[in-house]
């Protein structure tokens, strides 16, 4: 909880520096989730993340951000012609993304780079 708050404050501070936004409650960032998510909205989130990775295909769960403000993605596990995981012993990197609510906006944050993008036509709810 405390960690989340700190994350939110840090993220807000970053945004302040980046955009010069005023530090009002409407401009603070709060980790957020969604109550409902259409396939179109999910595709929008996938597209934003995909763009951050140069167009790489991204697949998210149908209920992404419904139960958590954080989502982690990683390389998809591929199977060989005999049905075995090609890379069954690995320590691959993961990439995390956080959904924030800022005023009436929902922002998707690339936690690795700090980049944030507003998601149109998405309603989210601050979790704290």
């Amino acid at each position: 909880m405390q960690k989340r708050m700190l994350t939110g404050l840090w993220a807000c501070a970053s945004l302040v520096v980046a955009s010069g936004c005023a530090q009002t409650s409407d401009n603070e960032l709060y980790p957020a989730t969604v109550n409902t998510l259409t396939n179109k909205q999910k595709v929008q989130i996938e597209r934003v993340i995909s763009d951050w990775f140069g167009g790489t295909k991204v697949t998210l769960a149908d209920d992404v951000f419904k139960n958590s403000s954080l989502v982690t993605i990683e390389r998809r596990g591929h199977l060989d012609s005999q049905g075995r995981l090609v890379d069954g012993r690995h320590n691959n990197q993961a990439y995390s993304f956080t959904l924030y609510k800022k005023g009436t906006q929902c922002l998707l944050s690339n936690d690795g780079t700090g980049q944030k993008i507003a998601l149109d036509n998405l309603e989210c709810v601050a979790t704290e």
């Binding site: 999910k42 991204v58 995981l85 069954g88």
Partner: protein, 543 residues
């Protein structure tokens, strides 16, 4: 394309030679010919290997733009297929585990991918199977595809391909909790009979098989398919199921059983993914609270994954005293790299038994210590689908003298690993290291074999038992679990131990070469199966 380029070079060389010869005869009487540069590209010389680094990223079709994962420009330069093949050859010579068992064939006789395909050992294991069954490549953009951790696309079935030729048999191992298959009430052991009205078992029509592939492994979510199953009790179940991108539950059926051998913990563990960490911790916390003295880990469908999570699981079984000053696994590369990892250049450091939680997003250890049972014996349920990191758990625990009792069938036999490496848009998987436990053992290329009379390092005390689809997973009456419980009580395998297979003549009838065969299985999560070559595999097979 490659041949015509090569031909152009040859023509240029011949022309130059001709001009030189003519010019040589007219040196004193005419102007000196304009010097034409002699092609100086690399060439194949048997037994002579340029460094791989001098040949990398010299591509017949160089990529341009920004590399998605690094944000840097692609390193590709204009080159040739010959240079791509020579890079593969040198890279293999430098890093392949069995580089000295690879024939140094002339690359001119191969395509790039065909050349890679033969850059491997042809030796066999003691059982006669190829020693290197894991040589692989795929387009880099496919390799880089990303997915939310633990998300699988489809209906949520985990399939058992019992028989891939007519009469086919495709059985539900389990349905992911909360998945469309689960919500439709399709139980373990249900056997597919009809798919969208097509006779799954008997059809030999290519059109039908195409339709079956499309229906069983839909490309997109939202695809609704009508199934008719035959259940274990003989009843039929007709249901419509709609595909989705669902979050899988890697740890299932966590429970504590009161048995004659004592309080016995059990859980089914399907894949080593980062989202499993806290499920495992919760399970072990519960076992500790319940004073568990025996543990059964069901890895029968676990094909591996994160090695660090395998280390954490092993620690939670063995505890601090048994893991103190020991390591989970170290890597052995080829004899050119006894001390340094040839890919990273780092000194080889064993993977420890991780005793702490890991922040997998940040890639760092946390201060919280993992729970542990400090067991001296553990039962592990296996099948041929138990692979890689699953096998490393068995090997690592045996490396510190934790008694592993293996119940089920022989594991897949993959003590090996690699650094998937891109060159010119293709990612290559060539075995570069072998995992070795604390006792220095890692030779289980034929898998770990459960036996009552083990004689070799790859033979593990335990009982050979077939998978039992007639009972739910986690049911104490299920064949493999019941055998483990009986062994825990008596110290020996119950007789008989083998439950009836799914159908009398079905098991192990999968290897037909028929063009109408269904190809093995798990691949199904991503591609199909019903062979006749139905769908293009997401993972390209070697040519």
């Amino acid at each position: 394309m490659r041949l015509s380029k090569l031909a152009a070079v040859i023509v240029a060389t011949i022309s130059f030679s001709g001009l030189t010869a003519c010019g040589g005869g007219s040196n004193s009487s005419g102007p000196a010919p304009t010097p034409t540069p002699t092609p100086t590209g690399p060439s194949w010389q048997p037994g002579v290997f340029a460094s791989a680094s001098s040949l990398e990223a010299k591509c017949e079709s160089p990529r341009t733009g920004i590399e998605p994962f690094t944000g840097q420009q692609y390193p590709d330069e204009a080159g040739s297929s010959l240079e791509e093949k020579l890079w593969l050859r040198s890279w293999t010579n430098e890093t392949y585990l069995w580089y000295d068992e690879v024939d140094d064939n002339n690359p001119a006789n191969y395509s790039v991918l065909g050349y890679f395909d033969q850059l491997k050992t042809t030796a066999t294991t003691p059982s006669g199977t190829p020693k290197d069954n894991f040589h692989f490549y795929q387009p880099t953009d496919e390799y880089n595809e990303l997915t939310q951790s633990g998300v699988a696309s489809g209906y949520g079935f985990d399939w058992e391909f019992v028989r891939n030729t007519s009469p086919r048999e495709l059985v539900v191992r389990f349905a992911e909790p909360g998945s469309p298959a689960d919500l439709a009430g399709i139980p373990r052991g249900a056997s597919v009979k009809l798919v969208n009205g097509i006779d799954f078992v008997n059809t030999n029509s290519s059109t039908d098989i195409d339709a079956l592939n499309d229906a069983l492994f839909p490309a997109d979510n939202g695809t609704t398919t009508s199934f008719v199953f035959e259940l274990v009790n003989g009843d039929e179940l007709a249901v419509d199921v709609t595909s989705a991108d669902v979050q899988v539950s890697p740890v299932q059926h966590v429970q504590v059983l009161d048995t004659p051998a004592g309080r016995t913990g059990y859980f089914q563990f399907n894949t080593f993914i980062r989202t499993a960490q806290y499920d495992l911790i919760d399970a072990f916390d519960g076992f500790i609270d319940e004073n568990v003295t025996e543990l059964v880990i069901d890895l029968r469908y676990n094909g591996g994954g994160l090695l660090s999570l395998a280390s954490q699981l092993s620690y939670m079984v063995a505890g601090p005293a048994q893991t103190n000053n020991a390591y989970f696994e170290t890597l052995q590369f080829n004899d050119k790299s006894p001390n340094r990892d040839p890919v990273t250049g780092n000194v080889i450091q064993p993977t420890p038994f991780y005793s702490n939680e890991i922040d997998y997003n940040a890639g760092r250890l946390l201060s919280a210590v993992l729970p542990s049972l400090s067991l001296t014996r553990v039962f592990i349920l296996t099948t041929g689908s138990s692979c890689s990191a699953s096998e490393s758990v068995i090997n690592a625990l045996r490396g510190i003298d934790v008694e592993v009792v293996q119940i089920g069938s022989t594991t897949c036999g993959k003590p090996y690993g690699y650094y998937p490496t891109d060159n010119c848009g293709t990612t290559y998987f060539s075995i570069q290291f072998q995992g070795i436990n604390y006792k220095g053992f890692g030779d289980y290329a034929d898998g770990f074999i459960p036996t009552e009379t083990p004689n070799y390092g790859y033979e593990v005390p335990g009982c050979a038992v077939d998978d039992d689809f007639s009972h739910p997973l986690g049911d104490p009456a299920e064949g493999m679990l019941s055998t483990a419980l009986a062994y825990a009580e008596t110290g020996s395998c119950p007789q008989p131990v083998n439950p009836a297979p799914v159908s009398p003549d079905a098991v192990n009838a999968q290897s037909s070469e028929s063009s109408l065969a269904i190809e093995n299985p798990l691949t199904l999560k991503e591609r199909l199966i019903l062979q006749n070559k139905i769908n293009e595999p997401i993972v390209t097979e070697q040519e």
